[in-house]
């Protein structure tokens, strides 16, 4: 490797050729490089064009686009039609998003539709995809559901979980604050405070509304509130003491407490009044495509899921539900009013 050393240390132009007894001119290797570059470029463009043509001919479906892998369990007879569904749960999303095959299969079997589950992580993205018709049936949170209905006229509320009729959030504090459980939220006003995700009904919207009711500025708090991004992150941040208080959905709090996963430094401070949250929302395109009775068929499926049937039970468990029940658009009027008040709905 002496040759490299000399070249790297900036020796005179002639020296490389001294290193090589063949005494080939030092500049020659550049020529094949150029030719190869051009040839490679040409080959690449050709190959890419060929691949593009192949894909365009429909020889393959994308691993990330809506047309991919309709559930094989469905009879998928042409009369059945295809339904694309999605969900953004806020508890253990990785479990549902990775086991979504269960949901798609179960729904396909019961409704006779070819059901495709499309995983999405971003609330706003799900709302947009519902509007564009990429997603037909989505399990939305309270606020995102209202947002989606406003952007997609004609959307129908299909069902909600039993717990969504009586959904609550809990305020938690770090033990170092010394606060005892109380109904008085004004005690939180001078603490460093974090919400969950900005568009979460239980992690931001309804708690902010209850704070407002008690005269606490929901966007006040010393240094401004944080948005942890998820209920579990809120728990950990309050446990660390970086934020002295926070709010999360009660379902997650109960699940983590029962599993003994809550840090002892976190104390329950207050439980909010009940409100409605998650629900299944069906887009108008799907109804047009698959028939007027589609909302009913889907509702029959959801309401028919029984915890006694082992297959159904697994689906219900993925959604953290005991059963699904009827839901009406008016259930979310409170959320709509609060959302407008807080500037989250336009």
């Amino acid at each position: 490797m002496r040759g490299r050393d000399v070249a790297r240390s900036g020796g005179p132009e002639l020296e490389p050729s001294l290193q090589h007894p063949s005494s080939a001119p030092a500049s020659l290797p550049a020529a094949p490089t150029r030719r190869r570059l051009l040839a490679g470029l040409g080959a690449g463009l050709g190959a890419a064009a060929a691949a593009g043509a192949l894909a365009a001919c429909g020889g393959r479906t994308s691993p990330v686009s809506p047309a991919a892998d309709p559930s094989p369990a469905g009879p998928s007879a042409p009369s059945g039609g295809a339904l694309t569904i999605g969900a953004i749960p806020d508890q253990d999303p990785e479990v549902l998003q990775r086991l979504y095959g269960l949901v798609a299969d179960s729904m396909a079997e019961a409704t006779g539709l070819a059901v495709t589950y499309r995983p999405v992580t971003d609330y706003a993205a799900a709302v947009s995809l519902f509007r564009t018709g990429d997603l037909d049936l989505v399990w939305f949170g309270g606020l995102t559901g209202v947002q989606a209905r406003r952007q997609t006229p004609g959307a129908v509320v299909v069902a909600q979980r039993d717990i969504d009729e009586d959904f609550r959030s809990v305020f938690v504090v770090n033990e170092a604050t010394g606060l005892a459980p109380s109904e008085d939220l004004t005690e939180l006003a001078d603490l460093r405070f974090t919400y969950g995700s900005q568009t979460s009904t239980s992690g931001f919207l309804m708690p902010a509304s209850f704070l407002t009711e008690q005269g606490v500025d929901p966007r006040g708090f010393p240094g401004g509130p944080g948005y942890s991004g998820s209920h579990d992150a809120t728990l950990q941040l309050v446990a660390s003491g970086s934020y002295e208080a926070g709010v999360l959905n009660e379902q997650v709090w109960v699940a983590r407490s029962e599993a003994g996963e809550v840090d002892p430094a976190v104390r329950l401070f207050s439980r909010t009044p009940p409100y409605h949250d998650y629900h299944w929302l069906l887009g108008p395109d799907a109804v047009e495509r698959l028939g007027e009775d589609l909302p009913e068929r889907l509702q029959d499926y959801f309401l028919g899921l029984s915890a006694d049937d082992p297959d159904d039970a697994r689906v219900l468990e993925l959604f953290g539900a005991g059963s699904f029940v009827e839901a009406r658009a008016s259930d979310h009027a409170q959320i709509e009013a609060v959302g407008e008040q807080l500037g989250l709905l336009r």
Partner: protein
Amino acid sequence: MSAGSRAGAAAPVCAPVGAPDGAPAGGDAGPSVPRLRRSRARWAWGVGAGVLLLWSLAGAGVFSGEVLNPAGARQLARFGAGALAPDLSPDFLRLLLGSTLVTVAYAALGAGLAVAAGALGAPLLTRSSWGRRRTGRLLARGAVAVPRGLHEAVWGLLLLNVLGLDPWVGVLAIAVPYGAVTAKVFADLLDEAPRAAHDALVAAGAGRTTALLYGLWPQAAGGLLAYAFYRLECAVRSAVVLGLIGAGGLGYQLSLSFTSLRWDQVWTCVYALTAVCVAAVVAGRAVRRRIADPPAPRGGRLRRDRVLVVAGVAVPALVAWSAWYLAVSPAALVDDRAREQLALLVSAAWPPDVSGPLLVALAGAAVVTVQTSVVAVALATAGAVLLAGLTTRPAHRVAVPRALAGVLVRTALLVLRAVPPPVWALVLLFVLRPGVLPGALALGVYTLGVMGRLTGEALEELDRRPADALTALGASGAAARLYGVAPRAVGPVLALALYRWEVAVRDTVLVGLLGAGGLGALLALQLAVFDWPAVTTTLVVVVALTLAVDLVSDRARAVLR
């Protein structure tokens, strides 16, 4: 023979990763006998930089009140423990394998399109094409500043609204901003390449295109190819960020596990990403070495260089496979639905919101963004300089412990940049009080991962003779470094820091949410509530800020040269 000749040869190899604006590495082709005098301009810039840093640190609250939260060490330890016990269950690994392929495909196709766009766009930006018509060239450069000024994640969200769940979203979110950057860097490389052949062709009556193709491109080919590989590695990391917004792949799995704070799974994703990045880095390095230092022709005959042939075939093949795997269809870009959604988006987003309260909020957020980026880059630069001794691959044979330490540090840097900034932001918030600092440090740690590598490479390209001479004269290792390496390294390293500053301003979009504020937090809220007119205004401010930082760092780099 001055060292300048070597610097000229090194420039194309190092410039792309160094600074898009030319050749920072050993860049001064000045007089062979340097005059010893203080440069007033440099002093002014130095003092200015110091003031900016102090102001940013003050803004981050370093001089006022508590910033540490030692009680959160347990949560931080849990994150660290995940690194030692990643989730290696067969089901999860199988899941990650598929996701890794998606990420690789996004990165390869995105970077491939970006390089193609860059190669086609570069002639529109070079000095040689515009000659003395400076206004035209400035306008052309201004035009690429818009796609360049927005982060890939922002592009992803905008494209998602137009194209829906189409694989093009991930591909174009990488290709559009990268294409603009690549065009600018390629143009700079072409401008820096020796012009004799080009001028001779023009003098001999060749057309402008012919002169460019045969006189300039071949001269710059090495640098262009090296930069293309560098972009590929960056694209892998960008593809992961896009997964966070729902484009699929490794980033998607990472974000799912991150939501529930399943650190063991997060770390498995990070390791998978690290492996892909290592492959890209090793391949890029092999190609760069071959171009910078072609092996000796044997027997006086020119032979094909196997490494370059393999690279020349494998890269287009990878791009082609990506297009096939993702099943992208050009028709989806222009179909009725895309046009309809684009019209809908434009009508919702125009005219921009210019109400007083929003502008005030934007001004405040812009200040926070600048402070965040300055603190981040200062931390990254300091760290990269401290680690430079270990990140630089030794030219001579060294003891085994030293070599091992080097490998360890380089791998650690790779992991630092494989963990996405939003994850760093949450983890650092466990042990820091909320505010600008956790976000700035998160970005700083991530940038250190990038800067550490670039600094090491820049130092490898330096002229080693002064240090060797000092050592031969009996100087200690430290003295040789201090007097033989440091004076030459200051320019390239600062140029790198300035270049990363621009990038950091864009990246602040990712870390604003946790009480840190800044333009990113504002943008996230506006996107969450679909306030499109305000989004337009914010994006204009982001692009303007990026442009301003670009101009300032451009001037500063000119002073350094």
